[in-house]
Symmetry: none
Subunit: 244 residues, 2 copies
């Protein structure tokens, strides 16, 4: 049996990038660290000569980049999504520094696709985008100036992941379990939201806050495929009981 290549299970997702030069710089950063899968969600200008110029010897990464209209498309099939944020907003169980996060991301990439998600240069990741991330990852920066160039942020992240992947990590029992994919978890969240409406637990006027808190909690659990199925089964059983 062929061993899957963990480098090919790692995708870099750039969402709503404003400057095409940064897309080229990101491609170059990736290639120097052995990463080849670039996904672009609704880039403002792409393709663009500025992207090609900054890519330098990584034109092939740009040429194979997939342009997606929605984040869901870019995350299809991923089992773990790490969103890069400028700093730790809430230091909680879902928040990691890049160095803390790298071993888990690398271990997961040995068996299933993993995404690193970077937001717009100015506004970063939206709350909706962060809601799709199981890990919120920050690169420690100076409190005086935390604004890394997008290509530089991709470079640092790709560097940490390369080192984590090369570290001779034996896949742990935990990472050998197959996680539920982004689509499966999104299906669960939709179902949960519907069921919570029916129980009147969710106020239809303010559904977002509770749902985002529930997302954060379940994200931290990294539900496996069979566990996601159990959760769906519970919701279905609740639905039927209510109907009776």
């Amino acid at each position: 049996m062929n061993k899957p290549d963990p480098f090919s299970n790692l995708r870099i997702v750039l969402s709503h990038t404003s400057h095409p030069g940064n897309i080229g710089a990101a491609a170059r950063s990736m290639k120097t660290m052995g990463l080849g899968h670039l996904y672009l969600v609704a880039p403002r200008y792409y393709p663009d000569p500025a992207a090609d110029a900054r890519a330098s010897g990584a034109i092939d990464v740009l040429e194979r980049a997939r342009v997606c209209s929605t984040l869901e498309q870019a995350l299809e099939g991923t089992a773990l999504v790490a969103g890069l944020t400028a700093r730790r907003r809430d230091v909680g169980p879902g928040d990691y520094t890049l160095r803390e996060a790298a071993p888990e991301l690398a271990a997961r990439a040995r068996t299933q696709p993993v995404a690193l998600l970077f937001g717009n240069e100015t506004s970063g990741l939206s709350n909706a985008e962060l809601g799709k991330c199981q890990m919120r990852v920050s690169i420690p920066t100076s409190p005086d100036y935390s604004s890394l160039n997008l290509g530089s942020a991709v470079q640092v992240a790709a560097y940490e992941l390369r080192l984590a992947l090369l570290a001779d990590a034996v896949p742990s029992e935990e990472s050998a379990e197959e996680l539920a994919t982004s689509e499966e978890m999104e299906g669960f969240y939709r179902h949960l939201e519907q069921t919570l409406y029916r129980t009147d637990f969710l106020d239809p006027a303010y559904p977002k806050k509770l749902m985002s808190r529930l997302r954060r909690m379940f994200s931290r659990a990294r539900p496996r495929k069979d566990e996601a199925n159990i959760l769906r089964g519970i919701l279905t059983a609740v639905d039927k009981s209510i109907e009776k």
Copy 2:
């Protein structure tokens, strides 16, 4: 007695840089990691509007940069010089990966000036320049493409040094979030089990297996107090809906 600031003992030296945009990018990379001392040895074009543009919010680092005609001037007063090279040429006692080198460089910067030396974009460091370095430091790269952009190389090096400098400083702060207690979680599991019986999802003959799987999953989430309360609230709402 004042403690010397190790960050101010770290200087970045760029030798014979061709593209002024890279000087600006290097300044930005430095500032995000709290480094402020930039030395330029015989830059081809400097000052230059392209440097200012790429520096973004780090114009102050550019303005304080010292332009030197010789490397000796830039290294004046340094106790340790690390030359960045594209790859390990000879793996010998003077050769380090960046991660191997960072602790020694950081430790030295607590007491004496330390320089990180970066060569020309195309030709790298000359043998004469490498001769001035006590450490030859490489950033591990893909064998297929090892050409980091200069600004990105400075970013990665500054990042490693920042982490090494902070490592000794203060013990990392633990999350201040208060987790749910064992008793609270046990109460939740009992409630969950009862509600699942009522929905007929749980087979009363074999309840243990499913409950232990659910326990494992929720345990991994490390639910906080407020999250445990939300979960209990959901169960209560479900109970009421079933009673209706």
